[in-house]
Symmetry: C2
Subunit: 330 residues, 2 copies
Amino acid sequence: MTKTLQVLGIGHALVDIIAPCEESLLADFSLTKGMMRLTSPEEAAALYERMGPAVETSGGSAANTCAGIASFGGQAGFAGKVGRDQFAAVFAHDIRSIGVSFHHGVSDSGNPTGRCLILVTPDGERTMNTNLGAAAEFAEGDLDHAAIQSAQIVYLEGYLFDPPAARKAFFKAADFARGNGTKVAFTLSDPFCVDRHREAFRTFIRDRVDIVFANEKELLSLYPGASFDEACGSIRSECDLAAVTRSEKGSVVIQGENFVEVPAIPIPKLVDATGAGDLYAAGFMFGLATGRDLAACARLGSLGASEVITQVGPRPQRPLSGIARAHELL
Amino acid sequence: MTKTLQVLGIGHALVDIIAPCEESLLADFSLTKGMMRLTSPEEAAALYERMGPAVETSGGSAANTCAGIASFGGQAGFAGKVGRDQFAAVFAHDIRSIGVSFHHGVSDSGNPTGRCLILVTPDGERTMNTNLGAAAEFAEGDLDHAAIQSAQIVYLEGYLFDPPAARKAFFKAADFARGNGTKVAFTLSDPFCVDRHREAFRTFIRDRVDIVFANEKELLSLYPGASFDEACGSIRSECDLAAVTRSEKGSVVIQGENFVEVPAIPIPKLVDATGAGDLYAAGFMFGLATGRDLAACARLGSLGASEVITQVGPRPQRPLSGIARAHELL
């Protein structure tokens, strides 16, 4: 089958509700800075009550990555589940209007479209509180097999391990992909998410994943007690290709005997870290899908990350293709 | 009655949907740059379809002004009508969380909360397309008389002249205010809005308004054929106090024989002009309500305007009180 999509992302379809906040708000709700936490509707309501004026924008980790690939000029699709409400219309509009095909399920349970309350502290770090709503209902029946088959890479969020039906759909998607010449990429998503599902993650990676994306904290959470070098050795033995981001220290790419280090792109000021990992994955996979070498892929990833963290919100507001050309990366 | 509120705003409760766009999109939809146009649900859907990825944020002209007053450290309330939907929750959260009391009506007609599609061209100008929805149903029964009575100033949007029921409520609000020691302030809102309602605006100003806010284009639309000086002379004879903004030329304040000119505050780059007039009115009325002289009021207005046009969205993201102190205006 012709591979018309470079990447099909499967993940949580979320609308982000972003507000600046003081450090004390994190303490009041016992939140760990920089992490993602799943919240009940009641907890989300209590936290929202305490948040200041916010902006709403489409989010969701894999969806952000797909938007980034489109922004680089690539072809991406996204699959996720929404409710029947205004946030669903916002999500669908935003993902389609950047040129990403949307292979969506719509929930009939009455659950609202998922939302993520994002608190941005004065240091630019973001702390996320997700009420999955309809996104948690993503199940096998929502898979679009033709879309998976049409993609060079299917990209899966670690966050989908949380709802059992989504995890099952996820395994099915990976198996179907590998049976149809589609590579499977997987992001560890969040150190706490890794902690919740460590053994399942490792088994999944060994059995079904070609490409792993992680940041340093997530990788170390996958191999507790290991040094960074040891963890790199472990991931090397468990998948074909891994790209590990290290914030201002740049990223490393590990493939067999290859170990490629690429520096971060310096930024004037960290405004909002939301989307950094998502946009790194976007640049990296856009590079892979267009036949670039690993260092070039990592540089495109760094570029996507550096752009998104100097603005508010998880999706690039300026076309990444132009910025990449200005950096002579395209 | 003790005046516990400095300003009670009455206007359209809207959620803004903001996206950058190319000039050509304005041409395709025959839109006049910088203006506000009322659209049907069908037109709004067609335009939204063509817009790129957007951010959503609470808006509405008078509501932005009230948010600005709170940001200066003042006491403001806002009255408007919303639907029963997610955008209503967003609007209510945002206005309350900045410290503005929300005296709202909720529509039972099934109409959605009003929204304004805002196209931001590369020059930073904003062109607005409003589908009023539930906001257009604001009527006499939605007036909170105790809130009007408790305010030093009631601030009314010219935009409310469009829906007949809102206009009627508006007249009632003004009469009740003046009968209870509350000043009536009125913004002309938009040159096309003035054009639609010129004679009614002039009669309303002469009979019921103490303070008029306008920009230069709106003032000239009120007095067609007049020069700027002539128009200033006309408005002087028709109300007690008028503040007229002139973009980078600053503003003029007219009260009887007083004619005070205040320069604009220079900005590094116009990012998004949305909210400039609204935040000028905020600073000006905060100054008036705290007993400052006209020049100081105008300088606070300029400060509010300069801050909001260097960011995306119509409400200030940083506290105006701190910025005003840094400028030694508070």
